[in-house]
């Protein structure tokens, strides 16, 4: 979270709504540890990362959805989930990401 505070503050100061996506668990080989955070502004700017670049595009979409709906959600990305999710992790692990509006 700390590494994206600067961007979050800049967006907030400009009156833009923000969503945050945080890695809450990693199974198997995952590139980023729990706590890794990606922040997304309502106009689609992103800061930080939750993986080695494999799932950031999908997380951006989830974050914008969450800003529209206002409801947080838990999303998993994994090598074995290729039917459920279009994107996976090339390293073969599974990560679970909590995506929520920064309205707290």
């Amino acid at each position: 979270m700390k590494d994206v505070l600067g961007e979050i503050e800049r967006w907030r100061a400009a009156g833009r709504r923000v969503a945050v996506a945080r890695v809450v668990s990693v199974e198997g080989s995952g590139p980023r540890a729990p706590g890794a955070t990606m922040a997304v502004s309502e106009d689609g700017e992103a800061a930080g990362s939750v993986s080695g670049g494999c799932v950031e595009g999908a997380v951006l979409t989830e974050a914008l959805d969450v800003l529209s709906s206002g409801t947080p959600r838990l999303v998993s990305f994994g090598y074995s989930d290729d039917e459920a999710f279009a994107v996976g992790l090339t390293c073969g692990g599974t990560i679970t990401v909590f995506v929520e509006p920064l309205d707290w």
């Binding site: 979270m1 503050e9 809450v24 729990p34 909590f98 707290w104």
Partner: protein, 259 residues
């Protein structure tokens, strides 16, 4: 002030804080912000759950761990209706480097890259200057034992003490004082011959086998490091390995030439 703003201010001030968030179950997204020296803020939606999670979050924060835990609706153990993500924002680990020598600047620079709060301490005012160590968070002119008498009680398992002075006059009091702390890593620079001599002096100063076993010396992993920068990598590699319980070759476990 919102929960986020309190968290933001704590992160900027580097004061320890933990954020608990319901990521599955009733109260999805509800939060509790927990601090060691102040009451919790926010709520997960149930007073009993708040109490149990606040206690657990303080424990995780002390260990510097970020994890997911499961509870019953009122904080019951061995139930899993509520999934809570506890994110610890511990204060950065600290590295205390004794000796304002060539190797110190490189080690301080690498330690900063790894997220340490770095103090350089040397009793010689000519060498221990902020101008020579601009990357350090703090440069202190003090005898090692005097400095550790002050900050030693606050050092813990995540913290490192590196003794680079090469001079018994400073090394011995620094190591004796470091062994009285809970620092997770204590390393001392010097050749094998220097260290053998130092061991004798440490024994004279009352250090027992258990204490000697805590000292990583000669400091660093056996990677053939020569330059100050390479040596910094070898030391930081050893610190990481000690924390993670891995066993790459440390110089103290081998007997060949260091370089």
């Amino acid at each position: 002030m919102s929960l986020y703003e309190t968290l933001r201010d704590a992160l900027r001030a580097e004061t320890p804080v933990a954020l608990a968030t319901v990521v599955a179950g009733p109260g999805l997204g509800a939060k509790l912000l927990v601090r060691p020296d102040a009451g919790p803020l926010g709520s997960l939606g149930d007073a009993d759950l708040d109490r149990v999670v606040a206690r657990d979050a303080l424990g995780e924060l002390a260990a510097g761990q970020t994890i997911t835990r499961h509870y019953g609706p009122h904080g019951e153990a061995r139930q899993d209706e509520v999934t809570v993500f506890i994110e610890s924002f511990a204060a950065p680990p600290r590295m205390v480097i004794f000796g304002a020598v060539d190797f110190t600047a490189a080690l301080a620079r690498l330690a900063k890259l790894l997220g340490y709060r770095v103090t350089v301490c040397d009793a010689r005012a000519v060498f221990a200057t902020a101008a020579r160590f601009p990357m350090a968070d703090e440069v202190r002119v003090a005898w090692p034992d005097a400095y550790l008498a002050e900050v030693g009680p606050t050092l813990g398992r995540r913290d490192a003490v590196c003794v680079l002075t090469h001079d018994h006059k400073f090394d011995v009091p620094a190591l004796v004082a470091a062994l009285a702390t809970d620092a997770g890593y204590i390393g001392a620079m010097g050749s094998r011959r220097t260290h053998a001599d130092r061991v004798a002096r440490l024994r004279e100063a009352g250090v027992d086998d258990e204490g000697l076993a805590r000292i990583m010396a000669p400091i660093g992993l056996d990677i053939g490091a020569r330059t100050p920068e390479e040596t910094a990598v070898s030391i930081c590699g050893e610190i990481i390995a000690l924390r993670t319980g891995r066993h790459p070759p440390s110089l103290r476990e081998t007997s060949g030439p260091i370089h």
